[in-house]
Structure formats: C-alpha cells, structure tokens
C-alpha cells in the first residue's frame, strides 16, 4: 500500500465526562473508500468532524497529506493554527452533512460557487465549473432552484457538488442518506459510487451496508468510541470477530 492520504493516530475526544473517541488509529489510502459503521453514539460523526477540525481532539492527531490538521508542531507541543490556516486546510477537504446544510438563501448554482469564490476563483470560471458539477450530479436543470424547491435527494446531490467545487483531495460523508426518503437514497449513493470510481479518497459514515459491501476498500466498526473492527468489507461484514459488531450487523442485515 502506498503512503496513506489520511493518518489518524491516538485520537481521543471527551464531551464532559463522556468519552466519545478513545484512541482511534486509522489509515485511509489515497484513492480508497473507507466506510465507518457503528451504532448511534459510537463516535462515528465525531471522528469525521475531527478530520476537518470542526471538533478539536483532546489527544492524538489527524494528518492529511502529511499535514497535521488544526495544529503545527512546536517541539513537544502541538499548537493550534490560526483561523486562516485552518480555513485553508478545510478548503482541501470536502464535507457532506446528514441534513445537507445547503444555504437556503442561495440557488443551487450559488451554493456551488460559494467555496470557490472564497478561495479566490473568479466568477466566470467558478460558474463554468459549478455548472459542470451540477451536470455531473444530474441537476443541470436545477441551477436556479432554491434548496426549498428541491427534494431531499436533489439537495444532497447539490451538497456533494458544492463540496467537490473546491477540488478537495478528501471527501467526508456524514450519514449522507439518513435524512432521505427511501426512494431517494439510490440517487445519492449512485453519485457517491461514481465519485469513488474517479479515484476520490472518501471517508463515509453510513448505515448502508450494501454500499459498504460494493464500494468500500476498507470497513471499520466503532463501538463506544473505540475502533473494534477493521478490514476488507468481506472480512468485517461476513465474519466480524467482535461481539458488538456481530450483534449490530445481524440487526441491520
């Protein structure tokens, strides 16, 4: 395996007395798809949110493309970076949320433009790329629609286009289909499969076991903040060794 794009080491996070993440170690190879499974409250979302510093870790670190996220090394210390430096790091990591979080006062195209304009791309080229991305997620005809005028599946596809617009090297998906009506899950997973095929590195938190089996290169299972199972989809999904993982999978399969 080549040098991994993402290295997570000893990552821990507490909210008050509750330990959400407890010493997570994880590598994600460049161009691969890692699917994170686990019961609710197991720390999956927190793990994802720590990767782009929406949450600060209490211990351990996340490294993307050789750069520690949110901190710089200073001898024996990790000092938190300036807002500006963190903003720059985040612009290379795309994120898709469970609740889409599209900007409701902006049209589909304007949503896709926002990150590019912030990164200093001129309006003309930004619009061209925005249209190309909306076309790629099958929504070329919706560029003037506002989020409220679109279905959940369409909104989530716009959200994926928006995250891709800043040309990220890593995409994070936080339960992207959990807030969708069942008939719309397929269209969103379809876009994600296409994206995986183009060689995008992805970390996906989901309950879609079928997606994990078909697309993932690596499946990891979290339980109470600990990574209890990791391996190929076949190994983890068909012969889980950890008892909690076995119980969870037999419940969802």
């Amino acid at each position: 395996m080549s040098e991994p794009l993402v290295r997570v080491r000893g990552l821990s996070k507490r909210f008050g007395h509750h330990t959400v993440l407890d010493g997570i170690d994880l590598d994600v190879a460049r161009g691969s798809v890692a699917v994170v499974l686990g019961p609710s409250g197991s720390g999956k979302s927190t793990l994802l949110r720590t990767v782009n510093h929406l949450e600060k870790p209490d211990a351990g670190f996340v490294e993307v493309n050789g750069e520690i996220i949110g901190y710089r090394r200073d001898g024996t210390r990790l000092r938190e970076l300036s807002d500006r430096a963190i903003t720059r790091q985040r612009s290379r990591i795309g994120m898709v949320f469970q609740q889409f979080n599209l900007f409701p006062h902006k049209t589909a195209l304007e949503n896709v433009l926002e990150g590019q304009l912030a990164a200093g791309v001129r309006r003309g080229p930004a619009e061209a790329r925005g249209r190309e991305l909306l076309d790629r997620v099958g929504l070329a005809d919706k560029e003037r629609s506002y989020p409220r005028q679109m279905s959940g599946g369409q909104q989530q596809r716009v959200a994926i286009a928006r995250a891709l617009a800043v040309e990220p090297e890593l995409m994070l998906f936080d339960e992207p289909t959990s807030a969708l009506d069942p008939e719309m899950v397929g269209e969103v997973l379809g876009v994600m499969k296409d994206l995986a095929r183009t060689g995008m590195t992805m970390i996906v938190v989901t309950h879609e076991i079928g997606f994990a089996r078909e697309v993932a290169d690596q499946v990891v299972f979290l339980d109470e903040g600990r990574l209890v199972e990791a391996g190929t989809p076949d190994a983890v999904l068909t012969e889980p060794t950890h008892e909690r993982a076995r119980a969870f999978l037999s419940a969802v399969l």
């Binding site: 782009n52 949320f97 979080n101 900007f103 409701p104 006062h105 902006k106 049209t107 990150g115 409220r148």
Partner: protein, 322 residues
C-alpha cells in the same frame, strides 16, 4: 375473500345518492358579522362627520401651513436625524450583538451591561443628560487612562442640542437593535456555520454572506417597528429646542395660538412618513424572503392591509377568530 375481490367489492348504494351528488353546497349564514360591521361603520361615520363639520379643526389653516418653509425645514431635520441615528445605531448594534454572542466573557459581559443600562434609562432622560454633559465633564480627553491625553476638547462647544439628540438616540436605539440582531443571529442553524467552515470560508465571510443574510428575515420586521418608533421618537428632541417637525409646529402655534390645526399638520406629515417607511419595509422583507417559496406581490400586501377586499388566500390557522 381475496384481496382482489375486496378491492372490486360492490359499494353500498342508497336512494337519493344522485341528488346529493348534484346538490349545491351553501355556506352557513353569519348574521353576527353583518350586525357588528354595521355598528362599527356607524362609529366610523360619526368620527368622519365630526372631522368634516367641526369648524374648530380649521382645515383651511392646516392647508395654509402644510408646506410652510419652516415646517419643511423641521421635516428635513427629522428625516436626517432619523437616518443618521438608524445607521449609527445599527452599526453599533451589530458590534454589540456579536460581542454579546462572543465566547470572550469580557466582551459578552460589557455588551450585556450596555444593553441593560441603555434599555433601562428613558431616552428623554438620556437626552437631557447629554445636553448637560458640559457640567459633568467640562473637558473630554482622548487617550489611554492615567497617561497624558492626545486630544482635549471643551465639552460646552461639543454638545449642541442636535448632537446630544444624535448621541442619546443612537445609544438608546443601539441597545434595542443589538437585541433584535442577536435574536436573528441565533435563529440561524448551527449547521449553516459548519457547512460554511467545511467549505473553507473565513469567519468574516461566514458572518456577512451566510449568517447575516439568513438572520435578516428575523431582523427586519422588528427593525421596521423600531425604525417607526425612532422616527416618531425623534419628536422628543423638541424639549431641548432642536427644531424638528414637532418643534417647528410648536414655534408657530406659540405665536398664533392655532394649536389644533398646527398639531394636525405635524400629524399628517408623520402619517405620510410612516406610510412611506412601511412600504420600504415591505420591499426589503420581500428581498430577503429569497428561497422561501411563497412571494406575495405589492398589491397583495395592500389588499392585506384593506380587508374589505378579500385576500386571495384566507389564513386557515386564524379561522377561529372569525
């Protein structure tokens, strides 16, 4: 019985079904509505009659003084003062609201104390206070506390009545504006800020492009009320002899004793100004309703204000009030 049979089962027919299907549906009569409408119209007619026939209104005098230059000067001052206070108080209000929401306990507390103080002190009292500033601080110096000041100004030269009015009203308005803005800002979902952060937007950009525009629909209606209150509230400057619309009118009736008609002149001007402000508010609200679906047009608003003309879509949720 199989499912198929159950679906195709014959429906029970009764005699008279045909007639029922053809019947016209007649709404219940509401005689109470007619009676109350007639009573209210009688009261309105009484008021209109007295307005027209009571000679002591002196409508001719109202007409004669309506466009007097001194009154128009007062009107212009009222407008200027309102606009200046609006702009400065909202700039200060944004700063105070952001401070109030800041994670920094010092900034947050200072903002809270400011809002507490200036919401508690009546603006008229404040105005008198600023007007008397020279007796409290004969000089104002600019510099770092305990060190030699950079600049020193004589307060007596500084605080004219107009400046006292501007400062007093600004400080008062800013406290209310800050609370309105804070309410708007917290109404924007946290997910919006997170999504913007994840896209690599800077803090300032997130505030101006993502959070504030979404807070505006919550900020504007309350701000419209505040602005109208301010426009009328500027009339208190007449107590410190600033020649606004009301004071100009007072100066005239102090000489000719035609109190009522001149007060009517001021009343009509305030009515006109507030009508214009309400119209502007409507357009601003519509601008910020982008992406909210239902857009009502200008004429729909006016029909909404004049319920004699039925609105196209009655509010179902308010039906209980009818």
């Amino acid at each position: 019985m199989s499912v198929d049979e159950a679906v195709r089962r014959p429906l029970l027919a009764r005699d008279g079904d045909e007639e029922l299907l053809g019947a016209r549906l007649v709404a219940r009569r509401k005689p109470g509505q007619w009676i109350s409408a007639v009573l209210v119209l009688l009261v309105v007619a009484g008021i209109v009659k007295s307005l027209v026939t009571n000679p002591r209104y002196h409508w001719d005098v109202v007409g004669a003084f309506f466009l007097r230059p001194s009154i128009l000067d007062g009107l212009v001052l009222t407008l200027w003062l309102t606009a200046a206070v609006l702009v400065s108080s909202y700039l200060l209000g944004i700063v105070l609201a952001v401070m109030r929401l800041s994670a920094n306990p010092v900034l947050s507390s200072v903002s809270a104390v400011y809002i507490w103080f200036f919401r508690s002190v009546p603006p008229l009292l404040q105005l008198l206070f600023w007007f008397q500033m020279a007796s409290l601080y004969p000089q104002i110096s600019l510099g770092i506390p305990f060190l030699k000041p950079f600049v020193t100004i004589e307060t007596a030269h500084l605080f004219s009545g107009l400046l006292a009015a501007f400062v007093g009203l600004t400080f008062d308005m800013a406290a209310f504006a800050a609370e309105i803005i804070r309410g708007g800002l917290v109404s924007v979902e946290a997910g919006q800020t997170e999504a913007a952060k994840a896209l690599g937007l800077s803090k300032a950009r997130i505030f101006w492009r993502i959070v504030l525009p979404q807070a505006m629909p919550a900020i504007i209606p309350a701000s419209g009320n505040l602005l109208i209150g301010l426009l009328k509230g500027t009339s208190i400057v007449s107590v410190i002899a600033v020649q606004d619309l009301l004071y100009s009118v007072q100066l005239i009736y102090a000489q000719n004793y035609l109190v009522i008609p001149l007060l009517l002149v001021a009343t009509i001007w305030y009515l006109i100004l507030v009508t214009i402000l309400s119209t502007i508010q409507f357009f601003v609200e519509r601008h910020y309703a982008r992406g909210k679906g239902a857009r009502s047009g200008f004429w729909q608003l006016w029909r909404g204000q004049l319920p004699l003309v039925p609105r196209s879509r009655p509010r179902r949720d308010l039906e209980v009030l009818r």
